[in-house]
């Protein structure tokens, strides 16, 4: 071996070693990050099994394990809240998906008078804080008898009513499907409706699932509006509103571990569903969200 090739190979070794060091560092970093990200959830899980006390303590691993918190949940209004949220989530997922797809397909595929104007108008509408419209929506809903104990249909109505505004992501996806497919199908004798049914929808599985998934997940986390519509009536609360109350100053001492147990029960189905459909979610986010 010549002198030159020895130094070259030594340098090569150096490169390899350097990348090994940096990769090890990155692995450590990622481990730390993962721990930080998972810790709160692990804590919630552990504390939901704690029986010896119901308030916050300075340790995490329960001294006595048990299902008392879960059993207590069923003595509270929690099952009712859970059903409320579940019904809202399922119905919203279906209807909102239909509306969003109608809207985004139309804006992606049709060139009609006022299309640009419509999109700009919706962008401007989006700049108004939606928070303020709640009070009037509450009045309208209460006139329709859809508040307090009957909050479920009211919530559904409000969630889906304006969902057409959230067309960006799926429009971005539809825009990536070549227009010539529509044209070919129309020349082949398809009506616009058949084009949607036979060509576009079968090709849009990822975005349909993404839309369903996000529409299903949103109602589980909505606090503000649900709180408004239920107006303190326990029968009309969703999980977020109901459980928020448990962490109030006067309740937290007796309900803290129940909150954890409830949190586990709420997070479980959503997380499982999410994990199963993760692929589509990632596709939706990376594909549509940025293009907007």
């Amino acid at each position: 071996m010549s002198e030159k090739s020895i130094t070259a190979s030594r340098r090569h070794m150096g490169l390899k070693a350097a990348s090994r060091v940096s990769n090890t560092l990155i692995h450590i970093l990622l481990t730390v990050i993962s721990v930080i990200w998972l810790i709160p959830f692990v804590f919630i899980l552990l504390q939901s099994f704690r029986v010896e006390s119901t308030w916050q303590v300075g340790y995490v691993v329960p001294k006595t394990w048990g299902f008392a918190n879960y059993i207590n949940l069923f003595d509270s209004d929690f099952p009712r809240w859970y059903m409320n949220t579940f019904i809202v989530a399922v119905v919203t997922a279906v209807l909102q998906t239909v509306i969003v797809l109608c809207m985004s397909y139309t804006l992606s595929r049709f060139r009609f008078k006022g299309r640009k104007l419509l999109m700009r108008f919706m962008m401007i509408l989006g700049m108004f804080p939606g928070m303020l419209t709640m009070i009037i929506l509450y009045r309208v809903l209460s006139d329709l008898g859809m508040t307090q104990a009957n909050a479920v249909p009211g919530l559904i109505l409000v969630y889906i009513a304006s969902s057409g505004m959230g067309y960006y992501v799926s429009k971005g996806f539809f825009d990536t499907i070549p227009k010539s497919l529509d044209e070919a199908a129309r020349v082949d004798g398809a009506t616009r409706f058949q084009v949607l049914k036979k060509i576009i929808l079968p090709l849009s599985k990822p975005i349909v699932i993404y839309t369903i998934l996000t529409a299903f997940m949103a109602p589980w986390g909505d606090y503000v509006f649900a709180q408004y519509v239920s107006m303190g009536t326990s029968a009309g609360k969703n999980v977020a509103v109901g459980m928020y109350g448990w962490l109030n100053k006067d309740q937290i001492a007796s309900r803290y571990t129940m909150f954890c147990a409830g949190g586990v029960l709420v997070a479980l189905p959503v997380t499982i569903l999410f994990m199963c459909l993760q692929k589509y979610y990632v596709e939706g986010v990376t594909g549509g969200a940025v293009k907007g």
């Binding site: 990769n23 990155i26 692995h27 990622l30 990050i33 993962s34 990200w37 998972l38 709160p40 959830f41 916050q56 303590v57 300075g58 340790y59 509306i99 109608c102 139309t106 595929r109 049709f110 009609f112 401007i124 509408l125 700049m127 108004f128 804080p129 928070m131 303020l132 419209t133 009070i135 009037i136 929506l137 009045r139 109505l157 409000v158 009513a161 304006s162 057409g164 505004m165 616009r192 409706f193 997940m217 589980w220 986390g221 503000v224 928020y244 962490l247 954890c260 709420v266 997070a267 959503v270 997380t271 999410f274 994990m275 993760q278 990632v282 986010v285 990376t286 969200a289 940025v290 907007g292």
Partner: protein
């Protein structure tokens, strides 16, 4: 400022170039604004001309039209029915009947009351009940809330009617023309069929747009109007009438005359924190998310999918659980303080004031927001990072770029270029990020110096503040509406500036 030619520009140094681009970007704004307003002016002129044309068209159609057309001016759909388009005709006729019925029965009242918002509120009537005891009963008269709401709705309805009436005339005109040229008119069945074909977009848009008009547009108009009244909260309007106040509320909110104790001072403070928060929330997440994505993507890293799944998992868990839990974790009597106390690091006297000290609270919410946001940003940036053509990096390596140079000269410009619009929406989204602030701190710690309504706190954003203004017995909804309008103005101005600056700033980073 001097305009440089391309060749002159190339001789400038980096700082000068940046300055020049920024300056020319800002310089373009007045011009763009001017052209924007000129555009509006032209639009108005155009609209005026169009309206004049419409009127003359309506007139000449009447003069030149046959009996059926003339009759349609009074009875909508008459021409359609007489010419065999029964379905269309009946729909027109039905609409006219409904409209007239509504206006006679209710609409007239709402419109008539709109200027005053009602004359008489709740009336107490004392009457002698059984056993001679006096009983108070309440008689309700006008309801300002309903007057405003249904008044606006009635105006919408009138506009829709005028549009439909005009459509009805136009159809007569077209039908006459088609019949004259010897062609067949579309039958009701043709109309129905075209709703799934060439007019399919109307079918698809009907439902979503109705929803948006009723549940977004109408409430927003209502909200804007409320800012000009003294409507204060959820339950009045019926008990106490409210009235038009002109610009008084804006004056109350924006008047500086009482200095540091004025509402305007509070508004300024909250706005400043909102902007700071939006800036940090957007960019910390963006860069750290990108960093994590790049770390996971790096060659030689194992369990790529595993790392990603762990992070993505946290997106699935409803935010109210994680935020509320973490909020309690950082509380004075929360897990962190208790643990540190058990470990003997701090004592009862020196608990860490995560939510009690303004600066601590502000930093903590930003840090927790990073925890919330990184997984999402990691996902987005992963997708884009993988889309950067590999040959860009190969070419850069051959040109002698090291890892940092590759990042700063290729990755970052590319990312900024692709995600520019996303960053803007993310910024404005963070300005209105109600959930994170409200669930974490509820705005705490309270700012006792402020005299403004809504017990404003140091972590309150404009959006949480305006929510608090509408709550409770002291609610001042009209002031919340003013804040809401100002939020809109701020968001719109930022969007306008960024949109105008973006192209000039990324000139050199053109990847397409």
């Amino acid at each position: 400022m001097k305009q440089y030619t391309d060749l002159e520009y190339l001789r400038l140094n980096r700082l000068q170039r940046l300055g020049y681009r920024l300056a020319s970007g800002f310089r373009a704004i007045p011009k763009k604004l001017a052209s924007f307003f000129a555009g509006i002016g032209r639009g108005i002129g155009k609209a005026g001309r169009a309206a004049a044309n419409e009127f003359s068209d309506i007139f000449t159609t009447f003069i030149n039209g046959d009996f059926k057309t003339k009759m349609s001016y009074l009875v909508m759909g008459f021409g359609n029915i007489a010419r065999g388009q029964v379905l269309r005709g009946l729909l027109f006729l039905l609409f006219e009947i409904v409209f007239i019925g509504y206006m006679v029965l209710a609409g007239g009242y709402w419109i008539g009351m709109l200027p005053s918002l009602g004359f008489q509120g709740r009336e107490e009537v004392m009457s002698k009940g059984k056993f001679g005891r006096s009983v108070t009963t309440y008689v309700y008269h006008d309801d300002s809330f309903k007057i405003l709401l249904y008044g606006v709705l009635t105006i919408f309805f009138i506009i829709a009617f005028i549009y439909t009436w005009r459509l009805n005339i136009k159809q007569n005109q077209i039908a006459e023309k088609i019949l004259k040229s010897g062609k067949r008119l579309k039958s009701g069945r043709d109309d129905l069929r075209s709703l799934v074909d060439d007019q399919f977009h109307k079918t698809l848009l009907a439902l979503p747009l109705t929803g948006i008009v009723v549940f977004t547009v109408l409430p927003i108009i209502f909200m804007i109007l409320v800012a000009f009244t003294n409507y204060s909260g959820a339950n009045d309007g019926r008990v106490n009438l409210f009235h038009w106040m002109g610009l008084d509320n804006f004056n109350a909110m924006l008047n500086w005359s009482s200095g540091a104790t004025s509402y305007a001072a509070t508004f300024g403070e909250v706005l400043a924190w909102t902007l700071i928060w939006a800036f940090f929330a957007t960019f910390t997440n963006y860069f750290l998310g990108m960093l994590v994505a790049m770390a996971i993507n790096k060659k030689g890293i194992k369990f790529k999918k595993g790392w990603r799944t762990i992070l993505v998992l946290t997106i699935a868990i409803p935010q109210f659980i994680s935020l509320l839990y973490v909020s309690k974790m950082f509380a004075k009597d929360g897990l962190i303080n208790l643990t540190l106390m058990d470990l003997g690091i701090i004592d009862m006297e020196h608990l860490l004031p995560f939510w009690e000290d303004p600066t601590w609270a502000r930093i903590t919410v930003i840090l927790i927001n990073i925890w919330i946001g990184i997984p999402y940003l990691m996902l987005i940036t992963t997708g884009i990072l993988m889309n950067i053509p590999a040959d860009l990096y190969e070419s850069a390596r051959i040109d002698g770029a090291n890892a940092w140079q590759q990042y700063s000269k290729i990755t970052l410009p590319y990312m900024l270029f692709v995600t520019g619009p996303y960053l803007l929406t993310s910024f404005t989204g963070n300005m209105n990020n109600f959930n994170v602030i409200y669930l974490l701190t509820g705005g705490a710690p309270t700012n006792y110096k402020s005299t403004a309504p809504g017990t404003v706190g140091y972590t309150d954003l404009l959006i949480t503040w305006l929510f608090k203004i509408t709550q409770g017995a002291e609610a001042k909804y009209y002031l919340a509406s003013v804040v809401g309008i100002l939020v809109f103005v701020v968001v719109a101005v930022i969007s306008l500036i960024v949109y105008n600056l973006l192209p000039s700033i990324k000139n050199e980073e053109d990847f397409q």
